[in-house]
């Protein structure tokens, strides 16, 4: 993946903190492409080499969210639709990754989140090349992406 002239990093988040971080600390390794929803991510994914994904999309609009809030409310939250919507926002990054994989985009993906090992293993089983770093650490992000390449 690093044979290209400048690898392209797809940054997927609901705000601009990841983009700011990537521009400051990863710009020497990647061209940064930032998007803010599943739809934008699916559009921008072709031609990118790696993904840096925010897990929580608390600022996203309900209509931009992936996932069925009604089904989640009935099955997981005792009918609480509001809580189900909140859960979809809190976990939106993984659902967007699922949609990208379903669309055939299998680039290495890294979350900035301290996932427990078992959950990270579940994500890897579901979505292939997935890694995580517990905090904003440019060197660790690069190392993780390289290990997944």
């Amino acid at each position: 993946m690093y044979d290209a002239v400048v690898p392209r990093l797809l940054v997927i988040e609901d705000g601009n903190e990841y983009e700011e971080f990537a521009t400051l600390f990863l710009a020497d390794r990647f061209e940064v492409v930032a998007v803010h929803s599943a739809a934008e991510a699916l559009e921008a994914a072709p031609g990118t080499d790696a993904m840096l994904i925010d897990l929580r999309f608390e600022r996203a609009r309900d209509e931009d969210l992936l996932g069925d809030a009604g089904e989640a409310a009935a099955r997981l939250f005792a009918g609480d639709l509001e809580r189900a919507r909140r859960w979809l926002k809190e976990q939106q990054g993984t659902l967007i990754l699922g949609a990208l994989r379903e669309a055939g985009h299998d680039q290495p993906a890294v979350f900035v989140h301290d996932f427990p090992p078992r959950r990270l293993a579940n994500l890897a089983r579901l979505y292939g090349r997935v890694g995580a770093v517990p905090t904003f650490d440019a060197a660790a992000i690069v190392r993780t992406l390289e290990s997944l390449a």
Partner: protein, 521 residues
Amino acid sequence: MSSMRRHPLSLVLAFALAPLGLAACAGTEPVDGGLSGASQWAAARALWHIDRDPAAYRAWIEIDPATPEGREAHRLLAEAEPHYRRGIERVRGGDPEARESFERAVRIAPMDPVLYLPLARAFRDQGRADTDNPHLFIRAAEYYRKFIALVPHDPRTEEARAELAEIDPEGSRLFAPPGEVGEAASQPLPAPQEVATWPLWVAVAALALAVAAIGLLLWRSRERLESLDSLAERKPELHPAIHYLVSSLRHELLKHRIGAVGSAVDALREGRASEAQIEFLRGRLYGGEPLTDAWHGHLAAFRRALGPELDLHRADKHFRAGGRAIEAIAKLEKRLAAGDARAFEKLSTAHATLRELDKRLGQLAQRLVRTSVDGALFRDVVDAVRGEYAAGAVQLDEVVIRSPEPAPFVEVFRVDLVLVLKNVVRNAILAVASEEPPRRIGLDVDTHVELTGEETVRIHVRDTCPQELTTEDIYARRMSRGLGLVTAALSRYDGAIQVEPADGEWAKSVVVRFFRAYDEE
């Protein structure tokens, strides 16, 4: 072993392991062979779960394994044993949380007395490694004595006596083999057998009381200046509040302001930070609310919620170190702006201290709200419900309990999970009461992986009552059937309850679902 001094392991374990040693060590007569299997099993269970008699193991193991009660007894003993062994390994490794394994095991079944020997040795070895902590040798001696008393004919008893003599030469004489007692009796001393025993027992009892009193005093003095871990240990009812406060501190300060600048701190220290990176660091550390105000604001929130006497800065060394690191960072602003290399080093050190605090708080938050969904939990629930007047009067033909190994954990305080399950189990028992035999209920658990990588733990309460029950019925009846508390708890813990249809063996299953908690082992 310094961590053992921080957490007074010997005292904490004294409480956790008390069930292993409260009763007399001289052995207990086997349960009356004339009792029926069910009565014998009930008596054996009472011997452990009520009396906490360490000799209960013998009563359990002697129940005929060809009977259903015997199979259950032997299965539970086998289920408990790995937890006891794990606990011993954790003591051997100096793990201050070793009691968790013992607490889990104690809820299931008594400990095989032969394990007192490795337990004694584990404490002895820790005592040798941590010579400042005499409690470890006291514990070791106690377990050596129990081993010798409960399994006097074990081939290793002589070794145990010798090892006990090494750490407690005086006390070990009490446990000399009969031959040596006989030799002592042959000496020209007046009435040796009679004077040799009871005064020594009294002396040992007095010594034990003195040790307990000193321990209690130490414990109470620590109580006045306790760490957050200690407060959480002592007051489970505060777990939700502590969890919320810790999570807020971690998210708002330690992650977004401190954690976020890790790469910039490294770049500064290594002399390769760009202007933009320095500006980013300055914004996070010195922009907006001053770091010290934010820190003290969080500490004040802890005091407001947990009590004005909780002075974390004074009583908790990790918070004290964190506070100093925050103060240090706050004072570095001008020196950092001036490019002072020593300031970069100081910033790096303070940053590492706060990252360590964040890590510790993360571990604490995880620990507070985790319950193992295992056979012991299910049995506690069924026993509690069967102890009630109405549900206890129902003639059940079978209670089937199944649990996987390892058991999954959920992020629900145990007391609340028991409350939820008691309600569901009570309703199942009362439902089958009106039906013809066979009347059966069952409890089991499985897990399901969600698309988010999370897992849900599904606790099934099954019954043989053919009357239809829907999920809507449960919510509609919640006020009249005690399920209001259930739905409130489900809401608090992101749980759900659903009715699933028959699967052949059962008429229906009420499924209580929670998210799985990770990092259980």
